[in-house]
């Protein structure tokens, strides 16, 4: 028998309704009631937060380093974008792949084992296709990238003074808001389960809040960077701002953050995507979008000003609810998948999966 005792942690377990100081005991890879066994190993984690290991609703996995980033970032479960590489070693992670909701102008084949259908980083071509996708998905959640491409032609950043000064084409917020409004209208008429990926604008989250009040079956997420960084990040053609959807105005960032805190948004998804070296041998406009996010996602959300318990919920019970999965918890008897976060250093200390440190 092995019995690991984590001592002095703040335990944050939204599914178990717990947020307080206690020790955590792990016996043979499962969580156990305190004092139910004599520890064979003790670790002092005072000052740290311990919470269920995280779920990411959307990341692009390309190389083994992406899995390593997820483990370092406190994740236990990844829903990989359909464009991800297959055949990476999971290293204890639960790796699942979203199915393509469409392929070009046709519906994608519905993989029965897929946790959801996703349009990835591009919109579904037409409202007619979205309608058929919602019908075809039969209660499986459809994850939608909301973008009216007629308003984003040539755009590489969000509209604003920075875009104007740098001579970059900016996408206006209405390119997202108009697509959200249209998709909600389709959802209302068609039924089905719709989830909006990476929302970035005040107008979008306002419409989600209204749709939820109306009782529509809708959920939504935002990325850590859209909760934190505004369009000025592109100053000096900084490639940290080369993300899609683009970074928006400070007012939009604040509105999205507020929506993440008040529950209008259900989850944070990382949008982790590792550009290849070749994709970055071009100037900003021609460089591929994408940034590394898995390793720092949780810390970034905390740094953005989201309270601890809510930040944990956005990465645990939130994504589980979006996917209709059992929410991860730290109750006795559960498999020991948990993360230890150091709020002083604002970094993940380590991840424990099935009782083993990663």
């Amino acid at each position: 028998m092995t019995a690991l005792l984590l001592e002095g942690a703040r335990v944050i377990d939204p599914a178990g309704g717990e947020d307080g100081q206690r020790d955590v005991l792990i016996v043979d890879g499962r969580l156990a009631a305190p004092k139910s066994a004599t520890p064979t190993e003790r670790r002092d984690v005072s000052g740290c937060w311990v919470f269920p290991a995280l779920t990411d609703l959307r990341c692009v996995l390309r190389v083994q380093d992406d899995v390593a980033d997820a483990l370092a970032g406190g994740f236990a479960r990844l829903i990989a974008d359909p464009s991800s590489a297959r055949g990476l070693k999971a290293d204890g992670l639960e790796l699942r792949f979203a199915a393509e909701v469409t392929r070009g102008t046709e519906l994608g084949e519905r993989a029965l084992e897929a946790p959801c259908l996703s349009s990835g980083f591009a919109p579904i071509a037409t409202n007619g296709l979205l309608r058929r996708a919602l019908q075809h998905a039969e209660r499986k959640v459809v994850m939608l990238h909301a973008e009216d491409v007629t308003l984003t032609a040539g755009a590489v950043v969000g509209e604003g003074t920075t875009a104007l000064r740098l001579g970059l084409t900016g996408a206006p917020p209405e390119s997202e808001v108009a697509a959200v409004a249209a998709a909600l209208a389709v959802l209302e008429g068609t039924g089905g389960r719709l989830h909006f990926s990476h929302l970035t604008c005040r107008g979008s989250v306002e419409r989600i809040a209204q749709a939820k009040r109306q009782g529509l079956s809708v959920t939504a997420d935002a990325t850590p960077h859209h909760l934190r960084d505004d369009d000025a990040k592109a100053e000096g053609y900084g490639l940290e701002a080369r993300v899609w959807p683009p970074l928006r105005s400070r007012a939009d960032v604040e509105a999205v953050k507020k929506a993440a805190i008040d529950g209008t948004l259900d989850a944070v998804a990382t949008d982790h995507k590792r550009p290849s070296i070749l994709e970055r041998e071009h100037p900003f406009e021609m460089a591929a979008f994408g940034k590394l996010s898995l390793r720092t996602a949780f810390a970034d959300v905390v740094a953005a000003g989201v309270p601890a318990a809510r930040a944990v919920a956005l990465f645990t019970v939130g994504p589980a609810a979006v996917l209709g999965l059992t929410p991860p918890s730290l109750g006795a008897g559960q498999g020991a998948d948990l993360a230890v976060f150091d709020p002083q250093a604002n970094r993940m200390r380590y991840t424990i999966l099935q009782g083993a440190s990663r």
């Binding site: 104007l164 000064r165 001579g167 053609y237 041998e281 071009h282 100037p283 900003f284 021609m286």
Partner: protein, 298 residues
Amino acid sequence: MPVFRHLLSLEGMGRPQIEAFFTRAAEFEAGGPHKAPLAGRLVANLFFEPSTRTRSSFEAAAKALGADVLNWTVAGSSASKGETLLDTVRNIAALGPFAIIIRHQASGAAAFAAANVPCSVINAGDGRHEHPSQGLLDTYTLWRRWKTFQNRRVLVVGDVLHSRVVRSNLHALKALGAQVALCGPRSLVHDGWAALGAQVDTDLDRSLEGVDAVMVLRVQRERMADAFFASEREYHQRWGLSAERAARLKPDAVVMHPGPVNRGVEIAPEVADGPRSLILEQVRNGVFVRMAILESVK
């Protein structure tokens, strides 16, 4: 003369630095003695977009200073042929120029090149971002007449959206103390320009009142994928600098255009060739200003 590692933009450049370029350009224009300071050194012209006057002007300036010029013209996009911009600029830098003069269709291309080569980089136009040598030669052309920009009003009219010239001119004119106004169809002149210190108006006749100089921008048809205005006829009627409009300008007001000109669209031929026009003087001054630029980068 101040020394620059690169010349990538005029944003942030102060009045003394800009005026130092003017003073040096004026010395070159006056035929002041200079002993081929760049003799035996190599300048590389790297143009990813077609250009007649900028490339020739830099070449003339480099030769006047005794430098050898390497012209590297890229037909079409090198990226489409598999060569990345990084690869191209590193290859050219390996030939040993002291400066690479680069024009590229992407905003930020010059800064990208500068970050990746050991030599100086001079931006000869990057996407819609900046065209600093054009901004300097335009303001030099005005400075020769005015000597001071206090209480001077400059109107830029036309396709502001697609113009790299407007950004360089705006930053230089503001630094020199001029008032700057922009005019054009709202689809081409974004309200956001007010945040950069320019007045914005869509009515040309109102905008022309009291101005000392009008910079007419080219309608960049090649950059317009969509309809930004109804027709060239309508554009000329509402935003074209016609002979009638030019006649209402202040007696000593001047008219400029960075070229190439769409005659009859943004400017009437008789205005482009008329007594207020400084268009050919701009081209002539460009060589002296670019001599000052080439001398300033180290």
